[in-house]
């Protein structure tokens, strides 16, 4: 039985194309929504129908809930795929979809809401027996209270926004003076970006690695994990390169981690695909960091090594059908790596909008790009223009193929981080598999 007849994709760029591809394979018709800035992008052309929803700023287009739902109604879509970012983790959007008779392809609004609050999600995971980073589970209402708590916990600490995520709204404070300087601006930024100025403390984990686990649960209570993804290569707390399996985990630790993630997902009765992010300290102890209640940017490396189409899995679960997967049947084969291609200066990491005058992608890799030659990359949205994914029987084979792809790629007219991606893949400590989240802020070796 087909999952849906028609799906609207409330997103843009590479992820909209990715969802269209699976829908097409399954015989599901697609509706794209696009802003005036995105008229010429491939996703607007590749969908069966495309609806212009507003001017370039996201608040008036990709974040405009009712405009998107109007487009769904006009085109007769039955379900909405939110992609990642924009409205993907907005409980109000999920709720409004249901109220207007549409299926939201993701978890229930209450679950999105609970996981969107870092304080609430920490408490829920701790109750489920999933370790959380030591810290303070109460909000910090005033600077005086923050100083008192910091005195008891001891510096250095991370001052974080409860409504934040993806590293945004986070300050490292090493002394009472630094805390005093950071407190008001952190609260103001949290209020401005997330609409909630609640702050809390987490202990800093030095030499940390970020490893996440892909989970999937259906609406009948069956759940599986699809192993981990290693995401420690980051700049400004945002991921740049991901790989699976993680070179740090032995079989025992991998099993413990994946089991903890599944236990966490069960505790909140999670439905659809989701990702639980963990931090590993140098002793190998892991702690819950946050849950992303949507498809992850780096989902292709899981697809490449398990053979599971995660977008199809999302559609199936949203349609109320059973998972159709048993844990014993999910095997990870080989090794996969993803490099995120950003329109930015490879040294300063500053954004570089402009027109792509030339784009060549050599064979031998999987490419997920939102743009093609001649397209303008505008300043309105994320700097991610595409992703390169390679697979190999071994880690070194996957890296070799990535180096070959990166060497052959030509993107001109804008600055991109391709030189940085190539330098990392050729770096001796990356190749040895010994790296942590500070990798990109350190001088590199062995080029």
């Amino acid at each position: 039985m087909p999952y849906f007849r028609k799906v609207l994709i409330a997103n843009r760029g590479e992820i909209a194309r990715r969802v269209i591809r699976t829908c097409r394979r399954l015989g599901i018709r697609t509706v794209a929504v696009y802003s005036e800035a995105d008229r010429a992008l491939p996703f607007a052309r590749e969908a069966d129908e495309a609806v212009l929803i507003g001017p370039p700023p996201a608040a008036q287009s990709y974040m405009a809930i009712e405009k998107i739902l109007d487009a769904a109604e006009e085109t007769g879509a039955e379900a909405v795929h939110p992609g990642y970012g924009f409205l993907a983790e907005n409980p109000l959007f999920a709720r409004r979809c249901a109220e207007r008779g549409l299926v939201f392809i993701g978890p229930r609004p209450e679950v999105i809401e609970a996981m969107g609050s870092k304080l609430a999600s920490r408490q829920l995971m701790r109750r489920a027996g999933v370790p959380v980073i030591p810290g303070w589970d109460e909000p910090l209402p005033t600077l005086a209270e923050a100083q008192r708590v910091a005195g008891a916990l001891g510096f250095p600490l991370l001052l974080k926004a409860s409504a934040g995520g993806g590293g945004i709204g986070m300050h490292l404070v090493s002394s009472p003076d630094e805390l005093e300087r950071a407190f008001d601006s952190a609260r103001e930024r949290a209020q401005r970006y997330f609409g909630d100025g609640t702050l809390y403390f987490e202990r800093l984990v030095p030499g940390a690695r970020h490893i996440e686990v892909q989970v999937a649960r259906d609406s009948h209570g069956a759940g599986v994990h699809l192993f981990e993804r290693e995401c420690s290569i980051q700049r400004r707390h945002q991921k740049v390169i991901e790989e699976t399996p993680s070179p740090f985990l032995d079989a025992e630790r991998r099993a413990a981690l994946c089991e903890a993630a599944l236990r966490g997902a069960e505790a909140i009765d999670y439905t659809n695909v989701g990702t639980i992010e963990f931090v590993f300290d140098q002793a190998g102890q892991f702690y819950f960091l946050e849950m992303n209640t949507r498809l992850q940017v780096e989902h292709p490396i899981t697809e490449e090594t398990t053979g599971v189409d995660l977008v199809e899995l999302q559609l199936r679960i949203a349609a109320g059908q059973p998972l159709g997967l048993a844990q014993e049947g999910i095997r990870q084969e080989g090794h996969a790596i993803e490099c995120r291609v950003y329109a930015e200066d490879p040294q300063t990491f500053l954004p570089s909008p402009g027109t792509i005058t030339r784009m060549e992608l050599p064979e031998g890799a999987r490419y997920e790009f939102g743009y093609e030659e001649g397209n303008a990359v505008t300043p309105y949205y994320d700097p991610l223009i595409g992703k390169v994914i390679t697979r190999g029987a071994t880690r070194s084979e996957a890296i070799e193929r990535m180096i070959e792809a990166l060497r052959g790629m030509r993107i001109e007219g804008i600055k991109t981080n391709l030189p940085l991606l190539l330098a990392v893949c050729q770096d001796a400590s990356f190749q040895s598999g010994r790296y942590d989240t500070s990798f990109l802020s350190r001088p590199r070796s062995g080029q």
Partner: protein, 75 residues
């Protein structure tokens, strides 16, 4: 003296007006591009002579934003 844009982006906020005295390190304009905000600061003190952009304008990297009458030999 011209204060120029450090990246291509949109002028999110202009924090000064003609006649505003500024000190070295003061933020004069906030630029926004691809979900990132960058503060453009005065490298030396002076008085704002002219504003070359408006909020919402798109500016290229290196574009002039604000013109300052620089203080001479500031102590």
């Amino acid at each position: 003296m011209e204060i120029t844009s450090s990246m291509s982006g949109i002028v999110a906020r202009v924090l000064v007006e003609p006649g505003t005295p500024v000190q070295a390190g003061d933020t004069v304009v906030v630029l926004e591009s691809m979900k990132m905000e960058i503060a453009v600061v005065a490298e030396q003190g002076g008085v704002v002579k002219e504003i070359r952009v408006r909020e919402g304008d798109f500016v290229e990297e290196g574009a002039p934003l604000v013109v300052l009458d620089a203080h001479r030999a500031e102590s």
